[in-house]
């Protein structure tokens, strides 16, 4: 990948979205675009220029941590993104009970009637497990296959 960072204005917009929707106050200085919608946070101290030079020397597979998706002006935190910000997330949370959590970690949508719409951070006890999208009849599951579990004990 050739590192492509968001400009100041877009970075501010992302920060505003995260603050408004989830109460997140601090975001990393270096957030970059990876693919069409993936956003990665880099907390390393190489400058943008050094990263560009490195990409000329070798193929860069990835930089930093994949923390969120940005689709149609909506932000969706990944499991690792939600954990990355876990000390800052104060709102936009859906708290799962034991049964819902088990279904969620099996990759199932939660059959729940909702009046509200949009994304929620899925929480079980103290931990966050990515985000779900609220629609009239369900919460859509985005847990990638590699992070689901087939049998588990709570």
């Amino acid at each position: 990948m050739i590192p492509e960072f968001f400009d100041k204005k877009t970075h501010e917009k992302i920060a505003e979205e995260l603050k408004e929707n989830f109460g997140i106050e601090r975001i990393p200085e270096k957030i970059m675009i990876s693919g069409k919608e993936k956003m990665r946070a880099f907390t390393g101290n190489l400058t943008k220029e050094e990263l560009r030079k490195l990409s000329e020397i070798t193929f860069i597979e990835s930089i930093g941590l994949y923390i969120m998706n940005w689709q149609n002006d909506e932000i969706r935190l990944t499991i690792d993104g939600a954990t990355f910000f876990k000390d800052q997330i104060k709102k936009g949370i859906f708290e799962m009970n034991d049964k819902q959590f088990e279904e969620w970690m099996h990759g199932k949508d939660l059959e729940i009637k909702n009046e509200e719409r949009g994304f929620r951070v899925m929480k079980y006890k103290k931990d966050f497990f990515g985000m779900g999208k609220l629609s009239a009849e369900k919460i859509s599951n985005f847990v990638p296959k590699s992070r689901r579990i087939r049998t588990m004990e709570i």
């Binding site: 907390t43 390393g44 490195l54 597979e61 970690m105 931990d127």
Partner: protein, 326 residues
């Protein structure tokens, strides 16, 4: 303890190990422990959770946890019986709160001691146990370039970095020697504080978990590995800044891949070999193997045998660069 399929060592393997250990120790200690599985070690990922909190959570699942090293509370052993695969299926593992990592594999980073704000190069990084350990030591501050040349191994490395919440790492896919050559070119000036070459090797140290290594073991492969290892270290060391530190490690006992490489480094580069304190018992590097005599300073390298600490086998040596290499 789990019993693994029984593979017989080849006669030349036996002959060489007897040369290193003596017949009595080889037969009654080394071979005895090789037939058993090592303890279930995990490393708490301090980027995400404290050792105290993790221990509490795991004990709530009725896992019995030991923290055998006072100065390294993040190192834990699960002493209770678990179901097959249970260690890798727990919620805590899924969330990256711990990494399943054998004790001897933790020694490279314990010895190298990466710190926040440093610039580190992990040349043969997959599957990522040492990279994630280094990122935790650096608190995700400073930069790691983690490289591996095999795409399948790189995929596992990437997935482990994500799971462990590592955000200060740049992942590259290139042949190690070629990447080092690129970083020596006129387009790159920044030198590294720390470099780890945890080299591909013949794997004698992993016999407890991979007994099939007995089948694959052969002297030609060892000699070929030794040549690759020398190329890797010779390419990497010039990328250090003056005073920068270099850690060479393998998971094998063969002197061709261990002391011979250390001797090669001492004879060809302006380095000093450093004293290293490890939390487990180790033995000094050997200075003679067959008709080869090595630099006396090779004794400062560390041989870790499975029978000494109930771990896997390992080897490491740490160096400091005394003057920048132009």
């Amino acid at each position: 303890m789990t019993k693994y399929p029984h593979y017989e060592p080849k006669p030349l393997f036996e002959e060489r190990m007897i040369k290193l250990l003596g017949k009595e120790e080889y037969e009654n200690k080394f071979m005895k422990i090789i037939r058993t599985s090592p303890p279930k070690y995990i490393r708490c990922n301090t980027l995400k959770i404290s050792p105290t909190e993790l221990k509490k959570r795991l004990e709530e699942k009725d896992w019995v946890i030991e923290q055998p090293y006072k100065d390294y509370p993040e190192i834990m052993i699960i002493t209770s019986n678990l179901l097959p695969g249970e260690l890798g299926k727990s919620i805590e593992h899924l969330l990256g709160y711990y990494y399943v990592q054998e004790m001897s594999s933790m020694l490279s980073i314990i010895a190298l001691k990466p710190k926040p704000n440093e610039f580190m190069f992990d040349l043969c990084a997959a599957p990522g146990s040492k990279t994630t350990q280094a990122a935790a030591e650096m608190k995700n501050i400073g930069t790691i370039i983690a490289n591996d040349k095999a795409i399948d191994r790189l995929t596992i490395l990437a997935s482990n970095l994500e799971r462990c919440g590592v955000s200060n790492t740049i992942l590259t896919k290139k042949d190690g020697v070629q990447l080092c050559n690129g970083l020596k070119g006129k387009n790159w000036e920044k030198k590294f504080d720390k470099i780890l070459v945890d080299a591909p090797c013949s794997g004698e140290g992993t016999l407890r978990t991979s007994p099939k290594t007995f089948l694959m073991w052969n002297l030609d492969a060892i000699k070929s590995m030794s040549r690759v290892q020398k190329k890797l270290v010779a390419s990497a060391i010039p990328l250090l800044k003056k005073g920068g530190e270099f850690l060479y490690s393998t998971c094998t006992h063969t002197p061709e891949e261990d002391e011979e490489v250390v001797d090669f480094i001492l004879k060809n580069f302006p380095v000093e070999i450093m004293k290293v304190e490890l939390p487990i018992k180790s033995r000094p590097g050997i200075t003679k193997w067959g008709d080869k005599e090595f630099d006396e300073r090779v004794k400062l390298a560390h041989r870790i045998y499975p029978q000494d600490n109930n771990t896997e086998g390992f080897f490491l040596a740490k160096f400091k660069l005394l003057e920048e290499i132009k």
